[in-house]
């Protein structure tokens, strides 16, 4: 039997995958061939070396993992409670939502500017808010925006409000696939996990605080080490002078 063939078999034999009849032929060959015996020893040593020299996990791996996971779960929870959940990841709808939000923001700013009179009246508009010239004024009713004009922007497509995740994705063969970054996880268990998420959020805050404290301690330690490392140089320089 040729050594090349034997070496192919040796790899299989090392994994216990060589049939018994071939194992016998292999053993016979190995008794006669020192080169192939050396080859087998090398393979075994290689395996031992690989297993004995596993890289060490970096310090703080688990902390960073927990922080990352908690952050992802928080984001998912926020997404799950959004009333326009269905519109998630559809750019066209996001533009509509962004436009709506901008309109609401603008309305709110205008309302504040109109309802709350300025402490002083530097422009001499007589309480006309942003209108300049003092000629253009609003009645009390006009100063308060009508909720009916902005409430629909916050409602979901079903026409009502909801603070709970509403899965209105269409089902059936004609359903359009929607991009859900967390797969089916939140579809099935989002309600059940809301309490857990609140706890996770709290824990995340605690972790962040501990992380920040540790980071500051390390900085202080490093600064003190740096300062002690510099002292001998000054002393030495002083002595030389």
């Amino acid at each position: 039997m040729r050594c090349g063939k034997v070496r192919d078999w040796l790899s299989l034999a090392l994994d216990g995958q060589l049939p018994p009849d071939r194992t016998l032929s292999l053993e016979e060959h190995l008794q006669r061939c020192s080169a192939c015996r050396g080859y087998r020893e090398d393979l075994e040593q290689g395996r031992r070396l690989l297993r004995a020299t596993e890289p060490q996990l970096p310090a703080g791996f688990e902390w960073r993992l927990q922080l990352k996971l908690n952050q992802i779960l928080q984001e998912a929870a926020q997404e799950a409670v959004l009333p326009w959940h269905e519109a998630a990841w559809r750019p066209g709808r996001w533009f509509a939502v962004a436009g709506g939000a901008a309109a609401v923001g603008l309305a709110a700013v205008l309302a504040l500017a109109l309802v709350i009179p300025p402490a002083s009246d530097p422009y001499g508009t007589g309480g006309a808010g942003l209108a300049t010239g003092g000629e253009f004024t609003f009645s009390a009713a006009e100063r308060v925006p009508n909720p009916a004009t902005w409430l629909p922007l916050m409602s979901n497509r079903a026409g009502g409000f909801s603070s709970l995740p509403v899965d209105t994705r269409r089902q059936g063969p004609g359903a359009r696939p929607t991009h859900d970054p967390l797969g089916s996880f939140w579809d099935q268990s989002s309600l059940r996990d809301l309490k857990t998420i609140a706890e996770l959020r709290q824990r995340n805050q605690q972790l962040l605080m501990v992380y920040e404290l540790t980071r500051r301690e390390l900085q202080t330690l490093k600064a003190s080490l740096d300062s002690t490392a510099q002292v001998p140089q000054h002393v030495e320089q002083g002595e030389n002078r």
Binding site: Q45, L49, R51, S184
Partner: protein, 229 residues
Amino acid sequence: MTREDTFGDASRLAGPVWKDLRDEDLIAYVQKGQRKAFDEIVARYRGRLFSFILRMVQDPNVAEELAQETLIRVYIHAEKYREIARFSTWVFTIATNLVRNRMRQRSRQPQILSLNPAPEEDELPLDPADPVADPSRLVEGEELGQLIALATSRIPEKYRIPFLLREVEQLTYEEIQQVTGLKLGTVRSRINRARNRFRQLIKPLLKNEALLAELERLEAEAESDKDES
């Protein structure tokens, strides 16, 4: 203990009990919302995943990022796991896909400079200036690890994945087939080729008696760590 007994009441399980459960039982608890079961999974797999990924990507930061991404996916997609395959096979399938994606991204980026790229095929001769090729030096713990990492990085990528899954993670050929999507014959031949290449690379080291002594010391250390845990 039957499976029903094991799953009788999750709330009664105290900390140490998690350690006695199989991976497949732990993930079943994760599916029921038990975060502590996931912590145990993290404890079991963090080192293995980091080690496997680091040996593939050779960048500790990327290895950490991908190992964490793997574990996060395990948690988030826990509901998708079904016990038709071993849990470790599922985990390493996720990790392997992430590693492959990252390598594909990397290969698309313009190469500025690569000092020690893995060869495409395994016929390349050893570099005589390679530190692995100097058998006379005294080799110690961490340096030995670096030399082995260097040798591993010289194995072509397509052979390295099945090789590491077999040699380090001890997955069966069938499991490696599931993880990689390769045919069984291809798995066998790639492992064989990778072993041959790895042997060529570490051959000079194997003549170093100090190294063999160091290897025995490391093995004894690992054994005592296992006993303590």
